[in-house]
């Protein structure tokens, strides 16, 4: 079957046409859909990856679920397809985080100099302590290592709210939680994070 130009990876595919073809068993359309959604799925997977999981495995799992559940997506519901996919990806990552039996604490040897400085800064109590001079990527790494000590839901909510800078309303839509639940979860998660960070500082300093 010949695939129309709109389904090729170079141009954004017409999602409705593409979905209809995928449902009809068109492999070319399925390939175009994976190529189109790959950046979106990888961005989510990378943000919520369990410590010992491989990002490609988790991304594949998201796409497998997507193809299996495609019949559940209805264009007439008014939810953009990309949003439906984001929600599916977030829920898949949440399941993977829940399945993580042990959450390994970062050891001194796992942390770079800049990361150590930021963890010490977070837990410091001297007023007007200057923030360490480190690039944004290092700060992000340090924060993600701290977040990895939390439970699945706590980690997810702080990643979305603080590191990704998403609005509470968006997080509620992505997770299926109420806005109040998102706020309460974030508040409690920060309290746990503070305890974890202090404990970690005691071990590494």
């Amino acid at each position: 079957m010949r695939v129309p130009a709109t389904l090729m990876a170079e141009e954004p595919p017409d999602v409705a046409v593409c979905l209809a073809r995928v449902r009809a068993g068109d492999d070319d359309a399925a390939r175009a859909l994976v190529e189109h959604l790959y950046p979106l799925v990888m961005k989510i997977v990378r943000s919520h990856l369990p410590v010992r999981a491989a990002e490609e495995d988790l991304a594949q799992e998201v796409f497998v679920k997507l193809f299996h559940r495609l019949e559940q997506y209805e264009v007439r519901d008014g939810v953009p397809f990309e949003h439906w996919v984001s929600r599916l990806a977030v829920r898949t990552c949440l399941d993977a985080l829940r399945a993580e039996r042990r959450r390994p604490e970062p050891r001194h040897a796992d942390l770079g100099e800049g990361e150590l400085a930021w963890i010490e800064y977070f837990t410091g109590d001297a007023p007007h302590d200057p923030a360490p001079d480190a690039d944004a990527e290092t700060v992000r790494e340090a924060m993600q290592k701290l977040l990895a000590t939390l439970g699945a839901e706590d980690r997810l909510v702080l990643q979305l709210l603080d590191l990704d800078g998403r609005a509470v309303k968006d997080i509620a839509a992505l997770t299926g939680w109420s806005a109040a639940r998102v706020k309460v979860r974030a508040f409690r998660a920060r309290r746990r994070l503070r305890k974890d960070a202090e404990k970690l500082r005691g071990k590494i300093s």
């Binding site: 990876a9 492999d27 399925a30 390939r31 994976v34 190529e35 790959y38 950046p39 990888m42 961005k43 990378r46 490609e56 991304a59 594949q60 796409f63 497998v64 679920k65 193809f67 299996h68 559940r69 019949e71 559940q72 930021w118 800064y121 977070f122 837990t123 410091g124 109590d125 007023p127 302590d129 923030a131 690039d135 944004a136 990527e137 700060v139 992000r140 340090a142 924060m143 603080d162 590191l163 990704d164 800078g165 920060r190 994070l193 503070r194 960070a197």
Partner: protein, 100 residues
């Protein structure tokens, strides 16, 4: 906001400045691996339950609500007419064989 929260938010603001990694294209073979895995992975029970739930919940709810309304209406009607399905006890004289 306590000291930790303030510093955490300062860190988050800095972390958000990090350049996102460029994932414009899937690595070679990724799409083929996904399609092969999707073809050989059986649909899970969870998927089946979700599918049934999505498909039947609304219809079932409408149907159940219809039955409930019909029962309520019928009950109202019978109450108003004083009718009842419970047979009334008739004060019929009981004649026992050994009664003279």
């Amino acid at each position: 906001m306590n000291e930790f929260d303030q510093r955490w938010q300062a860190g988050a603001a800095r972390a958000r400045e990090a350049e996102p990694r460029n994932d414009a294209e899937a690595p070679p073979g990724f799409t083929q691996r996904v399609l092969a895995r999707a073809a050989r992975t059986p649909r899970s029970i969870e998927w089946l339950m979700e599918s049934l739930w999505t498909r039947f919940t609304l219809r079932t709810l409408v149907f159940a609500a219809g039955i409930l309304l019909a029962v309520l209406a019928f009950d109202d009607f019978t109450q108003a007419n004083g009718a009842s399905f419970v047979p009334e006890l008739e004060p019929s004289p009981t004649v026992l064989p050994w009664t003279p």
